[in-house]
Amino acid sequence: MADRIRSDAGAASRRRFFQQAGAGSAAVAAATLGLATQEAEAATAFDGSYDVVVCGSGCGGLASALFARWQGNSAVILEKAGSIGGTTSKAAFWYWVPNNEAMKKAGIADPKPDFLKYVARLTNPQGYDAAHPRFGLTPWEYEMCSAFYDSASPAVELLAAKGALPYRHVADVPDYFAELPEDKAPKGRVLVPKDAIPSMSDGGLVAVRTMSTKARQEGIPIRTGMRVIKVLQDKSGRVIGVEAKDELDATVRLRAKKAVIFATGGFTHNVELRKNFLNGPIYGGCAAPSNEGDFVQIAGPLGAQLRNMNYAWTCPIPLEKAIAKDGSISGMFSVAGDSMLFVNKYGQRNVNEKLQYNELAQTFFEWDGAKAEYPNLVRIAVWDQRSQQHSASAEYGRLIVPPGTDDRHVIKGATLAELARAIDERMAKYAGATGGAKLAPDFLPNLQAAVARFNQFAKTGKDLDFRRGERVVELLFNGDVKEETGRTNPTMWPLADAGPYYAALVVAGTLDTKGGPKTDTNGRVLDGADKPIPGLYGVGNCVASASGRAYWAGGATLGPIIAFAYRAANAAHAEGRSAA
């Protein structure tokens, strides 16, 4: 491998030379030689040189670097955090791969036009038209979705064949809108890392392990603690490298002979960007704490245009952990428990608690224009001893957790009245973060009425208000519940008449955001005139997703990330090496 970044003695002594010689001399020398200052610096001041410089060490970065390396390019990965993997290491890492090889072997057809209808229906519901040549999608959306369909399977096959990411097919996992008539392959598109545990919740750790091991075997240095702060361009505007700061604040410049690929995640942990771009009150989320919207800020001055900034991969999260900026926070993929319901601060049950997480979170955004408030800003999950005993789990961000695990978010009461008092106290503690939200004076009687009505529905198995448990995805995420023979709806059971009772405060959050610089179908970042900024690429949550508001299926995050890492690396490979 060519250059080590910081331990490279030559680079270090070059830096020392420039320091000793004084800042002016490089410019003087440049002027003497008749070169522009920037160009002269570019020619001399780099600490290492690679064909491809990849920023970010989650799935998007690891895959981009591997795909580029396998075509004979040298590559380096720069990771801002002290450890690798980013949000990927916290993910279950299902990946949604249309028309994958395992489906073909199992005889599951997944024709492209129907696939595109399904994603069009969800991505642009107000413009959907089955008879339109692009099904109502914009040309950009259509091309991106089409490219995803074409490249996802070849990309995952290559990762598997090289031993970087062997997979197993989970043929029984349904898409999130499996009932829609547009979905002709409602099951079969989901893959997970081969060695993930049976519940598949640790897939991200497995993927980061196998992909990073392969990257290091292939001679791709992975440098942690490297915060990329600037993209360097030559006089013509071509991207020729990056400038980064290491953990001890030293400046490191790396040359990229072909391309710089960003895969640095979204802006979940940038309060300012969140507030200005997202379409609802979001309290952070389970993206890696280093996901601070770096690429939005870096690509802005280069003239990149932004797209899909208003949407995120959303998920309910426990308020306490969001406020505490708990790095281990998980989104609530699974709202567990059968004898469990959600109410708002008025004690009203007004949602199907088992709605798939992306859709559930967005019901927290409802605005009451008369009261000028978000009535569901903080919802309260309430459950009884039965669910505590039979539905507790430390996986998938569940609120109901087993003894010995982190239960700071759990509020307890021997009776519903005692529970209501405890909820009131807890909400007062967080008033500063909720606009002073507190329980309504009639919260307790309303809660009791809500429980009574829910219990009636639970006895018949039919939720006449919100149809809980009627869709297949709601059963997928139901989690463990106590066996009951002959029951038709395993998502519901009456809450006990006697305590103890439990509660937790729930707000809307993200897995990560999904807006950013717009790219073409090969990951090239586009300027305001839709022209690629030469040499600059983006993959994953740091760039604009063409999915709009939609969360098509489990793994609809990582499937496209792998497909576009493949396409970006292929396009980067085809770029001529620019002269150093």
Partner: protein, 120 residues
């Protein structure tokens, strides 16, 4: 520390950071995404690390360790040498275990070990 534009804020944060030991700073940037360090704090993605040095490996109650970790670490006691080896490349010590971390710089490893030693 959200933006590169707010240089004064950045400088202030840097000053605050200087008040901490280098090891504590490194632990904060490298480890707190998965681990807690305070006495009695709950486990995260990884186990709580308070008082790790001197303890038997995998003796942390309430945390489920991977089979690969248990196979490799059974009977070992955490001392400075083992921790240094671990931080050099966790996958070399316990291949296939859940934690992927490597730190090539011996000075940074030493700072982390120093910080871990101070937690008791």
């Amino acid at each position: 520390m959200k933006t590169w534009l707010l240089l004064p804020a950045l400088a202030l944060a840097a000053n605050l950071a200087l008040a901490q030991s280098p090891g504590q700073r490194l632990a904060q940037t490298s480890c707190t995404q998965c681990h807690s360090f305070g006495k009695g704090e709950p486990h995260g993605v990884g186990p709580n690390l308070y008082g790790l040095l001197g303890k038997q490996a995998a003796s942390n109650p309430g945390f489920t360790f991977s089979k690969q970790y248990l196979d490799a670490m059974k009977g070992k006691t955490w001392d400075r040498a083992l921790l240094d080896k671990w931080l050099t490349d966790t996958q070399a010590v316990a291949p296939g275990n859940t934690m992927v971390y490597f730190q090539d710089d011996p000075k940074k490893r030493a700072a982390l070990v120093e910080y871990m030693q101070s937690l008791k």
